[in-house]
Amino acid sequence: MKNRILLVDDEAGITRMMRRNLEATGRFEVLDINNPTLAVDTARQFRPDLVVCDVMMPDMDGGAVAAAFAEDAQLAKVPIIFLTAIVSRNEVEPTGSMIGTHLFLAKPVKLDELLTCIDSQLGKAGAGAGCIGGVL
């Protein structure tokens, strides 16, 4: 069964490219949105196993999206990987670093790094040790 991944980034080009790459692996069902204020409603319907979310977005930043997920009983345990352009790649561990309890990766992220992080987060979530309830 394919894992469901929700992509949230105001840059349509980034979500489109991520979706194509993730779908090409044949392992994921992917939905992408470019309006972060719709993230919670979309997630309630899509029921993602994991969210990949930008940090700096207009209207609602990544921290606010994470806080909204944490307050929602249905979504509170969904792991979130943040993508951010405000750090450089060498400031981030090869398998991602943490903001609070959430994993983050520096843009531009390479596909193999993204897949490694997704796998580690899905593994952790499956084991009941997901990145839950943290805020930026």
């Binding site: 840059e11 080009g13 980034i14 490219m17 991520m18 194509r20 790459n21 090409a24 700096m56 993508l83 352009a85 405000i86 750090v87 450089s88 790649r89 060498n90 520096a106 843009k107 531009p108 992220v109 390479k110 596909l111 193999d112």
Partner: protein, 343 residues
């Protein structure tokens, strides 16, 4: 009184006049003695007296003149010194002005860098993910696959420049703690060990003298050392030796001559930790020496250097009240970085 006596007196007066003309004033007493004699006619004694008085006054004036010349000489020397100080002040002022301009330029570059870095990273992310997608799709076609790999290299190069800009804009935030300089050097060497081994570069560490703990931002200092070590690696493509030696040092005027443009300039006589990092590479070209610390200046091939490493390095060191100078080695071919951490 006979004519012989008058003649003798006139001869004395002539000798006195000749002496006077040569600046000798020894004849006063003799002249005045003549005026007391009753053997001479009054007109002659009056003439001798007048001549004697003239001689005394000329001597007094000459003495005063010499005094004035002495005073003028002293005044001239004082003016010369004052003028030299004024010239030095002018130079210092110009240097301070240049530093202010340079500082303002660097601050502007820093602010721009942070903004540009963020704006460029998003499009770069799209290209990177696009390249990753195409690399998977085109992996069976050698030419297309190579093209995609070239595109990937270009993205990585652009990302390195962005990283340098972010480093530059962030170098002002320090987390200081008491730190052993030797341990930071060792940690930094570990991080570039792979590069050193690849280029067949050996490392010679000087004697590990006991150094006082320094208030340093360990991560920022590692960044400094990695920059300097990597510069040495790039300067020794055919291999060589990287020499690192730290010691306790008293700052000398000669040290200041090489680091005087820095804002964190120490004073002569200050105690400091001196760190020398030297390579056996190609050395620094003369025309590059004055621009080494300018942002975006690089002598490395396209794609190898961002031109931000040394400007970031100096900025970090200045925030630690440390200074750096770079030049060619005197003992053999190669470059040498000299760092001074004031205690």
């Amino acid at each position: 009184m006979n004519s012989r006596q008058v003649e003798k007196m006139l001869e004395q007066l002539i000798v006195a006049a000749e002496n006077l003309s040569m600046g000798r004033y020894d004849d006063h007493e003799q002249l005045f003695a003549m005026t007391d004699s009753e053997h001479y006619p009054p007109v002659i004694t009056r003439f001798a007296e007048a001549f004697g008085m003239m001689s005394v006054k000329v001597e007094a004036r000459e003495f005063r003149l010499e005094q004035m010349i002495g005073e003028l000489t002293i005044a001239r020397d004082e003016l010369t010194i004052a003028n030299e100080r004024l010239q030095q002040s002018l130079l210092d002022l110009r240097q301070a002005q240049m530093q202010l301009i340079q500082q303002a330029k660097l601050e502007t570059v820093g602010r721009l860098a942070a903004g540009v870095a963020h704006e460029v990273k998003n499009p770069l992310a799209i290209i990177q993910l696009g390249v990753d997608f195409l690399a998977g799709e085109l992996k069976d076609n050698r030419v297309w696959h190579e093209t995609v790999i070239d595109m990937e290299d270009a993205v990585q190069r652009a990302d390195r420049v962005i990283k340098g800009m972010l480093d530059f804009s962030r170098s002002e935030q320090l987390e200081l703690q008491e730190t052993d300089l030797h341990s930071v050097i060792d940690d930094s060497l570990l991080l570039v060990r792979h590069e050193l081994n690849n280029k067949d570069i050996s490392v010679e560490l000087g004697q590990k003298v006991s150094l006082p703990l320094l208030m340093l931002d360990r991560n920022k200092l590692k960044q400094v050392f990695i920059n300097l070590f990597m510069n040495a690696v790039h300067a020794m493509p055919e291999g060589g030796t990287l020499t690192i030696a730290a010691s306790l040092h008293v700052v000398t005027p000669a040290d200041l001559a090489t680091c005087c443009s820095s804002q964190a300039r120490p004073a002569a006589g200050n105690r400091a930790v001196l760190l020398k990092i030297a390579d056996t590479g190609t050395g620094i070209q003369e025309e590059a020496v004055t621009r080494l610390f300018d942002p975006f200046f690089t002598t490395k091939p396209v794609g190898v250097g961002t031109g931000l490493g040394l400007s970031v390095t100096r900025k970090i060191l200045e925030l630690h009240q440390a200074v750096i100078s770079l030049g060619n080695r005197k003992d053999r071919q190669g470059a040498e970085a000299v760092l001074l951490f004031t205690l």
